[in-house]
């Protein structure tokens, strides 16, 4: 389909495209809210180019976000929050520790595994980073890890929040490109676990050189079984979410609602949750959602305008003219995504870059699902890349360690995650095997 468009037509973009674009860049640099910039940019571009009626924006504010799949976004944040408040998240960490504590770098590995468990419930990396760092950093420091390193490790492990399903990022990219979130969740399982494993392995290797901790706990099956049994209610939640989605019983949105309901019921039965907790929890989840939704609503008319102006084709053409080597193009996309991931949050990156880069990926023979996995994983690295990695800031906010001190140690994790992303980019089977 894209080849049809590509038949060497003269594409040209004039001031009516570039003036609004430059205006947007200036406003973004002046720290104006991203959704405002995108909204004003689309509106002005709709007027100057005249390719589509400007009323598009008014309609997109309702129709653009009127999707059942999007409801999963606030719900997957809420499940994470309820889990923390009921103390079930501590149970998950206990299971992680009983499972991996026997390793030489036992506590570190367990903490990362805990991040992975939490990622099976929450769909947000920042929620993951906040929840796990609040519980684990002090213990890691006690065990002998430098504080900055411990923070960096949790921040890296928490990237799996959006890489291991359920994930807000996959829901949004699915919405933007028209792919079902369930399919993406299936595809994301192996890549997500690979990233998690890479963080664990990096920690084990570094630990071997620096000897931060030497765990002397052996693996005790009775203890493990006891811990798992006492955490049975906490383990029920990921079982419901992932089991429901993968078996096809639930859609992601339904699984989120069922998980919220189950966690609340468990919380009430155990007496760890009271009605007083609700207004604050709901407001947190609604706020995170309220930050994401306007960006999606405002970006859709912009994406449509760009498509009508054939900007994606223009972009593909100018790059394929320079090089046709698929390896170079993948490296180029990776660079774009990593830079974007460092300077901006995932949601605007997905809605703006996905429609722009997908034609390029299809052009070099990438499958669209493979592209989604590649894109989200590459953006995921941005969470722990200085200067603006979101997870670094969240962990720094929770623990009071400076972002600079954390970033210094985050470099190792960035490098190993980069290796995994390259493997994922060049071996499509890892993303496509499970679907």
């Amino acid at each position: 389909m894209y080849q049809m468009y590509m038949q060497q037509q003269e594409l040209s973009l004039g001031w009516e495209f570039f003036v609004p674009l430059i205006g947007m860049v200036i406003l973004i640099l002046l720290a104006v809210r991203i959704w405002t910039v995108i909204g004003l940019g689309s509106l002005v571009m709709l007027y100057t180019t005249g390719v589509l009626p400007p009323t598009l924006l008014g309609e997109a504010l309702f129709d653009g976000v009127d999707h059942f799949a999007l409801i999963a976004v606030p719900l997957f944040i809420l499940t994470g929050d309820v889990l923390v408040r009921t103390g079930l998240s501590i149970k998950l960490l206990e299971v992680a520790e009983a499972t991996m504590g026997w390793q030489k770098a036992g506590l570190g590995t367990s903490t990362v595994l805990g991040c992975g468990f939490f990622a099976c419930i929450s769909g947000s990396d920042a929620a993951d980073a906040a929840a796990i760092s609040r519980i684990t950093i002090d213990r890691l420091v006690e065990k002998g890890y430098p504080k900055g390193y411990a923070c960096a490790m949790v921040a890296a492990g928490a990237c799996t929040g959006i890489l291991i399903p359920p994930s807000i990022a996959y829901i949004i990219i699915g919405l933007v490109l028209g792919i079902s979130a369930s399919t993406l969740f299936k595809a994301a399982a192996i890549p997500g676990v690979m990233i998690l494993a890479s963080v664990m392995i990096t920690n084990t290797i570094i630990n071997r050189f620096r000897k931060y901790e030497v765990s002397d706990i052996g693996f005790n099956f009775n203890h493990w079984a006891k811990t798992v049994y006492s955490a049975r209610w906490a383990l029920l939640i990921p079982f419901i979410i992932l089991g429901g989605i993968y078996s096809g019983i639930f859609t992601p949105t339904e699984s989120a609602a069922v998980a919220v309901m189950t966690t609340i019921i468990i919380g009430f039965f155990q007496g760890t949750l009271s009605l007083k907790d609700f207004p604050e929890m709901l407001e947190t989840s609604a706020k995170v959602n309220g930050v994401i939704v306007p960006i999606i609503a405002m970006s859709l008319p912009l994406a449509q305008t760009l498509a009508s102006l054939q900007v994606p084709q223009y972009f593909v053409q100018s790059i394929t003219e320079a090089t046709a080597n698929p390896y170079l193009i993948i490296l180029l996309m990776l660079t774009i995504l990593m830079v974007a991931g460092c300077i901006m949050e995932t949601t605007p990156n997905i809605v703006i870059l996905a429609p722009l880069l997908l034609p390029l990926a299809l052009e070099i023979g990438m499958n669209e699902i493979h592209f989604c996995i590649f894109m989200i994983t590459a953006l995921g690295i941005g969470f722990i890349t200085p200067p603006l990695g979101l997870n670094l800031f969240v962990v720094s906010g929770v623990t009071g360690t400076s972002v600079l001190a954390i970033s210094r140690h985050a470099v190792y994790f960035v490098l190993t995650m980069l290796v995994i992303v390259l493997i994922l980019a060049f071996v499509p089977a890892l993303s496509l095997w499970l679907i």
């Binding site: 973004i28 720290a31 504010l61 719900l75 309220g290 930050v291 605007p348 800031f393």
Partner: protein
Amino acid sequence: MRLKRVLQLIDENGERYLLLPLYAMIVSTIFLEVVRRSVFSYSSIWAEEIARYAFIYVAYIGASAAIKERAHIRIDLILHLFSSRTKALVFIFGDIITLILAALAIYMSMESVLTSLHFGSVTHGLRVSQAWFLAAVPLGFSMMVFRLLQSIKRDWSDFRAGRPVFEGNKLFD
């Protein structure tokens, strides 16, 4: 004095009060729908509609709460370069720009509400006037306008008095 107390409560908790029934509606309708489908093999066409429309209300009310807390995403590189007083001006500038867009959004979305009222369109499942749900957008943006005006007023008086400007609460603390 009574009125003042009520207004203060709304200012502090307005968004929270509205969110509680909306969330309850989303979670319980979807949950009951799943139970009904798996136990009674029956599903309705209106449940999904309730959840979707409640979600849009939640989304824009949440956006208003996020303005109150200054939680919306922005690239704040430039802010690190400035003194607190200049920061206040940058924040006020951003708020005014957002105010303009919010006003335009209210105008544009009211148009769809009025069109829907004019033609009497109803939703597919519930057969209720579509205007009830379309109104989520102008309502949400009106709340945002209100929060923006509050924020501009606060920042301006901080600027005048030379107090450090409110830089927002973190989304995950």
